[in-house]
C-alpha cells in the first residue's frame, strides 16, 4: 500500500511517499522545502505564499524520486493541524485537489502524532514516550487509554522558538538552533540561568529574559549558548524522565527539528541508559517537519478505516494531540 503525504504546518512544505511494508514504514521519497525569511521569524502569510509556489514542485519531485505514478497511490494524507492557518490551508488545498482529480481517499493527519508514528514506523521502538521538540511545539507524549496523551508540555513557548528568539536577539540568522549548538561547543562557563520545571511541564520565558540580560551585559555569546543548552535541555530531559517514570514506559523517542541537536540527543540517551531504557531517534530528515511522516500516519489511519471526507477536511489550527481516536493501536 502506497501513500502520499503533504506537510505544511509552519515553515516547511513537504511531500513524501511511503509504502506499508508488513507494519514497517518504507520511505520512498521525502522532499522538503523550507521557507527562509530574509529577517525576523516566520510570517504566516509569506510562508503560505512560499508553500503555494513550491507545493506542486515538491509533490512532482516526490513522485519522480519514488518512481511511483500518481495513479498508483492508495491514499493521500495531509497535515490537518496544529499549525499556522494560512500554511495549513495551502497544504490542505493541494491535498484536496489531488484527492479529487486522482479520485483517491483523503486522510487528515495530526502533525504531532505523525512525529511519533514515524519514529515507531522507522525505528525499533514499539511503545515510546516521545519528546517532541520543535519551533512551535514542545510536548512529552505517550499512548494511554486509546489515545496519544500529552503528559508534559511547555507552559509558554516551544524550545525551538525560544532558541530562535534568543538567536534573533543576538543577531543570529533563522533558524538559530544549529548556530547556537555550534557556538555552545566553545562555551565553558555555566551562567546562572533559571531552571524551570513544574511537574512534567517546562517553561522557557524566564531563561530567555535571563540569557538576553547576560548578552546585554557583555557575557560571551559562546558561554550564553552553552549555558542555555545545558539548562534548557536538562529541563527537557528531566520532564521526559519524569513522564517515563509516571507512565511506566521504558522506551524514549525523540522527534521534531530540535531533536537534531547532538547535545540534546546525548542527554536523553544518557538518561535512558541510566534508567535501563532504550533510546530512539529517526534520521534527521524524518525529525524535521516532513511529508513522509504524514504519509505514514495517513496509511495507518486509512488501514484502520479512517478517512476524511472532502467536506470535513477543514484545517484545525489548534488540533490537539489527544483528540484523535487512535484506532490503529491496541
Amino acid at each position: 500500500m502506497l501513500s502520499l503525504g503533504i506537510e505544511g504546518t509552519a515553515h516547511t512544505i513537504g511531500a513524501g511517499i511511503v509504502e506499508y511494508d508488513n507494519g514497517r514504514c518504507k520511505v520512498l521519497s521525502n522532499i522538503i522545502k523550507m521557507y527562509q525569511p530574509e529577517s525576523g521569524g516566520i510570517h504566516p502569510r509569506e510562508a503560505a505564499n512560499h508553500h503555494a509556489k513550491y507545493a506542486s514542485k515538491v509533490i512532482r519531485e516526490a513522485f519522480e524520486k519514488a518512481k511511483v505514478k500518481p495513479e498508483e497511490i492508495d491514499v493521500i494524507a495531509f497535515s490537518q493541524g496544529p499549525g499556522l492557518g494560512p500554511c495549513l490551508r495551502t497544504a490542505a488545498t493541494a491535498a484536496r485537489a489531488l484527492s479529487l482529480s486522482l479520485n483517491k481517499p483523503l486522510v487528515g493527519v495530526n502533525h504531532c502524532i505523525a512525529h511519533l508514528e514515524i519514529g515507531r514506523g522507522t525505528t525499533d521502538c514499539e511503545d515510546p514516550v516521545l519528546l517532541y521538540v520543535s519551533g512551535g511545539n514542545t510536548q512529552v507524549i505517550a499512548f494511554a487509554n486509546g489515545r496519544y496523551r500529552v503528559f508534559g508540555e511547555t507552559l509558554d513557548i516551544g524550545v525551538g522558538n525560544f532558541l530562535d528568539k534568543l538567536g534573533r536577539y543576538m543577531n543570529l540568522p533563522f533558524p538559530s538552533g544549529p548556530i547556537i549548538e555550534k557556538l555552545a561547543k566553545s562555551g565553558k562557563k555555566l551562567l546562572d540561568i533559571p531552571y524551570s520545571v513544574k511537574g512534567m511541564d517546562v517553561a522557557f520565558s524566564g531563561m530567555l529574559t535571563s540569557a538576553q540580560k547576560y548578552y546585554d551585559s557583555g557575557e560571551s555569546i559562546e558561554d550564553i549558548c552553552f549555558s542555555v543548552q545545558e539548562v534548557a535541555f536538562a529541563a527537557l530531559t528531566e520532564v521526559t524522565e519524569r513522564a517515563m517514570a509516571h507512565v511506566g514506559k521504558d522506551e524514549v523517542l525523540l522527534g521534531g527539528g530540535v531533536a537534531r541537536n547532538r547535545r540534546l540527543r546525548e542527554m536523553v540517551r544518557i538518561m535512558a541508559e541510566e534508567r535501563g531504557a532504550e533510546f530512539f531517534v529517526p534520521p534527521d530528515d524524518l525529525c524535521v517537519d516532513n511529508g513522509a511522516m504524514i504519509a505514514w500516519t495517513g496509511i495507518l489511519m486509512y488501514r484502520s478505516g479512517m478517512e476524511t471526507k472532502i467536506e470535513e477536511s477543514f484545517i484545525d489550527q489548534r488540533f490537539r494531540t489527544d483528540e484523535v481516536d487512535v484506532k490503529w493501536r491496541e
Partner: protein, 209 residues
C-alpha cells in the same frame, strides 16, 4: 538491612531505620546527563527546600512524613515511613462514592497547604499516600513558598492534568477536588477558579469557547 523500595525519576527511596523507627531515606541521585555543577546545585537546593516544605506542611495540619534528618552534602532526607497505598492505585479500586470522598479530602488538604503559602509543585496522585484514613502528601521536591494566586493555580492545574491523563476515565472527579478546596481555602475561590481556566487556555491548542 537497608533496601531500595522505589526508584523514581529523580530520587531513590531507601527503606531504613532511624533510632529504632522505620524510616525512609530519600536520596537525590546524581544525573550524568546534566553538567556536574548544575546537577549538584539542583539536588542540594531541592533537598533543602523539600525538607522545609514538608515541615511546614505538617504545621499546616496536612498529613506529611515527620522529618528525622537532613544531609545536604549527600542530598538526603531521612523521614518517617508512611505505610499505605498510592492514591493513584487506590482510585481505580474504590467505589464512586469513596472516590468522591477521597477527592474532596485531597482538595481540602491542598487548600490548607496553599493557605500557608506552600506550593507542592508536583501534585499528582502518585505523590499522595492513603494511610490510616488520611491522605499523606509526599515528594515536595518541586515545591516552593508563594502566596500568589498564579502559583496556586498552576499547582492545581497540574493535578487537573494528572486527572485528565492518568485518570482519564474519572476526569470528572477533579470537580470534587475543587469542591473540597473551596471549603477550606482562605482566598476568594472565584479567583482560583478563574485562574485555573486562564491557565488551561494558556496550554497549547486549547479550544476557545
Amino acid at each position: 538491612m537497608e533496601r531500595v523500595i522505589y526508584r523514581g525519576a529523580e530520587a531513590e527511596l531507601i527503606l531504613s531505620e532511624y533510632l529504632g523507627r522505620k524510616a525512609v531515606k530519600k536520596v537525590r541521585l546524581s544525573k550524568k546527563y546534566r553538567l556536574k555543577e548544575l546537577d549538584f546545585l539542583l539536588r542540594a537546593s531541592r533537598t533543602k527546600e523539600e525538607a522545609k516544605l514538608i515541615h511546614e506542611a505538617r504545621k499546616a495540619g496536612v498529613p506529611a512524613p515527620i522529618i528525622y534528618d537532613v544531609d545536604i552534602t549527600r542530598c538526603t532526607i531521612t523521614m518517617e515511613y508512611i505505610e499505605g497505598k498510592k492514591v493513584k492505585d487506590l482510585l481505580s479500586e474504590v467505589s464512586k462514592g469513596e472516590m468522591k470522598r477521597i477527592c474532596m479530602e485531597m482538595g481540602r488538604n491542598i487548600a490548607k497547604l496553599h493557605n500557608r503559602g506552600i506550593i507542592h509543585g508536583d501534585l499528582t496522585t502518585s505523590n499522595m499516600v492513603f494511610s490510616d484514613g488520611k491522605i499523606y502528601f509526599i515528594d515536595f521536591g518541586l515545591g516552593s513558598f508563594s502566596e500568589e494566586i498564579e502559583d496556586m493555580g498552576v499547582d492545581l492545574h497540574l493535578l487537573m492534568e494528572a486527572f485528565a491523563s492518568t485518570h482519564s476515565e474519572h476526569e470528572d472527579m477533579f470537580g470534587y477536588v475543587l469542591d473540597g478546596y473551596r471549603e477550606e481555602c482562605h482566598v476568594d475561590f472565584t479567583k482560583i477558579r478563574r485562574k485555573l481556566d486562564e491557565i488551561s487556555r494558556r496550554g497549547r491548542y486549547i479550544r476557545w469557547r
